[in-house]
Symmetry: none
Subunit: 201 residues, 4 copies
DNA sequence: AATGAATGAGTGTTCATTCAT
DNA sequence: TATGAATGAACACTCATTCAT
């Protein structure tokens, strides 16, 4: 539309964002193959054709969603947490509380976690030598905290990366529950923390 | 078929079993929508048409697989374990060791766990008032052990069913890893046990 | 539009003409089915929507182009030529020279000839009993000259209309060359005339 | 079908041929953009899906048709004619008679000529420096005859290739008539020959 | 009056299912 | 019984047309 003048592409950006956002949740719930463009468009509330004004194909849309997730992943907070001058145990309980709280309130966060983990799984599948690219930031931060905790004697022994993977795996689990089940019992922070801590509570 | 007459349907049973089995893994990896009959048949090593001699439709095949899983789920062992006169902590560590060992060795077990959990998730989605039908056996057994442990003071406090759900969720996680990743780090029994036990080791 | 009032529809006429003209060439090159409104509008240098201010539909635009061609067809000159008191041979060589010269210089003329002939071909297809409507004028004039030439012994024997059809068919041929090829060798007037004349040169 | 054994792909070859053949005529009449797969399949008498068992896409089918035409083009006869120890005039009249006779009887021949010429036109369009690849054989043979005739004084002067192009252009013209019109007047051999010969009859 | 973003009917392509062998 | 070629309903994608600005 020739709205006023300049920012008709303000609207375009808005629409693009809405599509990306709404599609993310839809894909997270139904998977790529299980998502029909016709249904997706209806769910977003736009015409089928409109989708193709913003994305070249279903595949392209999916990839853009993945890109978005990679960029978003709130790693900044994580990094901040990792560098605070507090005990690893505190950090872990803090992180767990924060993550579970967001998971409870925010479906988008759940969708992001779910898609992100699925991407990692499938990526591993075809590309086992992958350097675990994007997720590494998140995992590295967690691993750093774990190593600190191991020195402090509050975190269980074992490969730090493997433990970080375990921790986020559990988060993925409850992201799925958030996405798929209506009445679910969210885990508690102490339960999540227990994946890492020597002695819970 | 010129097998005189007797057990030409011995062969039929055999074929049906093979289809169910091979399809299970394929579905677990690719999902229902992501599975094409043509690919599936090739993967099994039979003609597309043959599938329809044994199953009425793709949907029917999928349901039969689900039934099979429900029936198989080695609950007997579980029940046995649950009623042994040993401490809950021992039971849990035992169970964890057994489950993870099977997961490592047996892709079918991984497939079963994966499909089973996905079924539960999707079922919840559309049928939130479900009485958690089939999975309940497995979960009830685990919950019983958990309750025993809580009395003994070795298992963390909290709703027993929720904790059982958590426990099997982690198992699901590593079933996925088994199915999707080529080089994965399996969790250790003590890590799995820690989801429930007050103090690891 | 703030053009006071008088001839803001002078501009409208101008635009309509431009659309008709530019579309004609585009249709001639790409055919009806092969022409997309989006591409056409870009080619003309207007918005897609603008087209629909001047024409009800793609089909309508195409029909208006056809009408325009029918009306334009410089039959007047032809008629004039037909009635001049000179030999048929002269008339034919004259006509050939003129037609080929215009073809060389004027893409629009080529487009008109091409579309016109294609119309005739397709019309015949669905309406074989057609009285060859509009093109008849042009053909009748040519046939008249042919008949004159046959009497004078300079034009080959045969049905005059069929020969006229042949003559303009060759013109169509070189209209296509003009439209589609960048470096083409235009036929010479004597070559075109030879379709009719007993003895060339 | 597992017919007897070996030649179920005899049938496949047959079907492929039928599709190629029937599509050729359909494309010749309607153009690429004007041809709908649904209509084409109906016209051939097969299901839409069947087309995609034999050809990867509409575009692919079209290209295969073009390949087929290039290969077919009955150049052998032409070459034979070109090398006979008879006068160029005889050769030309012979050729004209043969070509027009086939055009009258054989729609496929008409389709081939039409598509072939259209290919050449479009090819020129995008690739003006093309060495006129495949059609050259046919044109070269004709040009050779023309040159012979020019020496013998029976063929008009001028660039031989240009004249060959003219000759086959006229053939194209009547291929179109054959394809599009129901009641058409085919040109006569002497008319076609006159494009080249100094003096008709 | 002019625009181009939005739309959905229509087109190309895929895939679960059937069926002749 | 087993097969895979054939099918058409369903899906991804395109494009003529509309409409808010």
């Amino acid at each position: 539309m020739p709205k006023t003048e300049q920012q008709c592409n303000e609207i375009k950006k808005q629409t693009r964002k809405k599509i990306l956002h709404d599609s993310m949740l839809y894909f997270a719930r139904n998977g790529f193959a299980g998502t029909k463009i016709s249904d997706l468009a209806k769910h977003i509330g736009i015409g089928q054709g409109t989708l193709y004004l913003y994305f070249a194909s279903k595949e392209d849309l999916f990839q853009e969603i993945q890109k978005m997730i990679e960029e978003k992943q709130d790693i900044k907070e994580m990094k901040l947490l990792a560098h605070l001058p507090i005990s690893a145990k505190k950090k872990i309980m803090n992180l767990s509380k924060t993550v579970l709280a967001r998971l409870s309130k925010d479906e988008n966060f759940a969708g992001m976690i779910a898609l992100n983990t699925q991407m990692m799984l499938e990526q591993d599948c075809y590309n086992s030598s992958s350097d675990t690219t994007y997720q590494s930031e998140l995992y590295k931060c967690t691993a750093a905290i774990i190593e600190q905790g191991q020195k402090e004697g509050t975190v269980v022994t074992g490969n730090a990366m493997k433990l970080a993977d375990y921790y986020w795996g559990v988060v993925y689990l409850y992201a799925l529950k958030k996405l798929f089940t209506t009445q679910y019992e969210m885990i508690e922070a102490k339960d999540l923390s227990r994946t890492l801590l020597v002695k819970g509570e």
